[in-house]
């Protein structure tokens, strides 16, 4: 009969009786249809998310190709005009640069806006998911580690998303303005200021990520040992009880730990899928924009109009910076969730 009871307990572990206690926050409306309700096979589900994202980005690829063709056409016309009338080459250069900037500004603005929106959506979803993971980790015995991880993730998430929205994105606009001036009017000083702005953005992102990963690595090890000691103390208290009651307490504690572990893993996997889905579609859209601008910049060089080609390259760099920002927020959340999923110790 005891074996039957143990089997019954194991059955209750396999079917989480209290699944409602630790549930992942639902995927936001924009990506809800790409994330399966139940995560059965992480690989297949991730592939489904990637496939859906690839299908969605087609219109933006065509749109991006459209303005790249316009840019190449403008450069080609400029090249022909420059060859025909060498006397007015300065005016042609200025007007060519301005036309190029006008073509690039609207799609770049849309891309930057998409980047801000992605960062905000990721941050908001993180604010819902991280408390659930924290609660689940604490319930598994990792009270100290959960507290340290929560504080680090919430703090760095607020810092990074705040810095991106209020500082780095305006700096990208500053970088673009400086680029237009430096490329159109061939200003070396402005070019140097532009390069410095770009360096500040990349350096800022890298530093925040390095500090975050360093902090959670150290606190993970330190707090993990404290939690293991607390768990051992609880086990000792249980073994001190009456044999039958002690056995029941021990079995129940073990089964609760296992079922919370299962719930935490499923919440974590679902969370990872939602975060990837939230990030992937804008990432691909901005990524396509970035790659096509790079290709366009290369093609523009063939027509020997250096200013236009360099201006397109600067806009591509701005797209790269926005990509890096969304990537940094996504990476930070993924690292944090994986640390929560790793468990106690």
């Amino acid at each position: 009969m005891r074996r039957f009871i143990v089997l019954l307990l194991l059955f209750t572990i396999a079917v989480p009786v209290n699944a409602a206690e630790f549930t992942a926050p639902e995927a936001p409306g924009s990506v809800a249809e790409y994330v399966p309700d139940q995560v059965d096979n992480f690989g297949e589900d991730l592939w489904f998310v990637i496939n859906s994202a690839l299908k969605i980005i087609w219109p933006s690829i065509i749109e991006a190709m459209g303005f790249c063709v316009s840019l190449i056409a403008v450069t080609m016309i400029l090249s022909v005009c420059t060859q025909l009338s060498a006397m007015t080459s300065d005016i042609l250069r200025y007007s060519g640069g301005i036309v190029t900037a006008v073509i690039l500004i609207q799609p770049s603005k849309a891309m930057i806006h998409l980047g801000i929106q992605t960062v905000q959506q990721l941050s908001q979803y993180g604010k819902l998911l991280i408390p659930v993971m924290t609660g689940a980790m604490a319930a598994q015995g990792g009270v100290t580690k959960a507290g340290a991880l929560y504080t680090a993730t919430a703090f760095f998430d607020a810092l990074l998303s705040g810095a991106i929205t209020d500082l780095l994105i305006p700096l990208v606009y500053v970088f673009l303005c400086i680029s237009i001036v430096s490329r159109v009017f061939s200003q070396t000083l402005m070019k140097q200021i532009g390069d410095f702005t770009k360096w500040v953005i990349t350096w800022g992102l890298k530093t925040v990520l390095y500090i975050f990963t360093g902090y959670i690595s150290i606190t993970g090890v330190v707090s993990g040992s404290a939690d293991l000691a607390a768990l051992k103390a609880t086990k000792l208290a249980i073994t001190g009880a009456v044999p039958l009651v002690g056995g029941i307490l021990s079995d129940a504690s073990e089964s609760v730990l296992v079922s919370i572990g299962i719930m935490k893993a499923s919440v974590g996997v679902y969370g990872v899928l939602v975060i990837v889905a939230l990030w992937l579609i804008p990432f691909l859209q901005i990524g396509v924009h970035y790659l096509l601008l790079k290709v366009t910049s290369g093609l523009c060089q063939l027509f020997d109009i250096k200013e236009t080609s360099l201006l397109v390259k600067d806009f591509a760099d701005a797209a790269g910076l926005v990509l890096a920002m969304t990537g940094a927020v996504c990476l930070m959340l993924l690292i944090s969730i994986i640390c929560f999923m790793k468990g106690v110790g």
Binding site: M1, I130, P131, G135, A146, F155, L244, V245, I248, L249
Partner: protein, 155 residues
């Protein structure tokens, strides 16, 4: 941010206008250029002057409090789950013992508030013979440490 950029641009325009009054090769122009450079640097770093380092502590305190609240929720859920499992297991053991004695009963175990929770009172529902009652009373007393006065028997 907009205010900051406007402030920066207006400072740059003002310094440029000021510089245009002097001859580019004159000493005054060079001197003014240096002063304008310092003014521009001050304008650029002015937000840092208003930076209050104490706010960082407050933010971390806020996040710690939020984390603590999430931890307490998680611990409450785990405790609830654990109590449910212990109660179910204890009742299953009692029913198993009654069945081995040939009796069919219902058992409702109540747990105390200790950590981990232990059974302290039980209500047995069902008609049993005096022999079975004696056997079960002894079992509850020795195996579960539930004293006789905490064993409630209902027909």
């Amino acid at each position: 941010m907009r205010e900051y950029i406007m402030h920066l641009i207006s400072t740059a325009v003002l310094t440029a206008i000021l510089l245009s009054f002097f001859d580019k090769r004159s000493t005054q122009h060079e001197l003014l250029k240096c002063v304008c450079g310092i003014v521009m640097v001050i304008a650029a770093i002015s937000p840092l002057v208003h930076f209050n380092g104490m706010n960082l502590d407050r933010y971390i305190e806020d996040f710690s409090a939020e984390g603590q609240s999430a931890i307490e929720d998680g611990l409450d859920n785990a405790e609830e789950l654990l109590r449910k499992r212990i109660k179910e297991s204890c009742e299953a053991y009692i029913l198993d013992k009654a069945a081995s004695l040939g009796a069919t009963i219902l058992a409702d175990v109540e747990l105390d508030e200790t950590d981990p929770p232990k059974p302290y009172r039980v209500t047995i529902i069902g008609s049993v013979s005096p022999f079975v009652k004696r056997q079960l009373t002894h079992y509850l007393k020795t195996e579960f440490q539930i004293p006789e006065e905490m064993q409630i028997w209902n027909q």
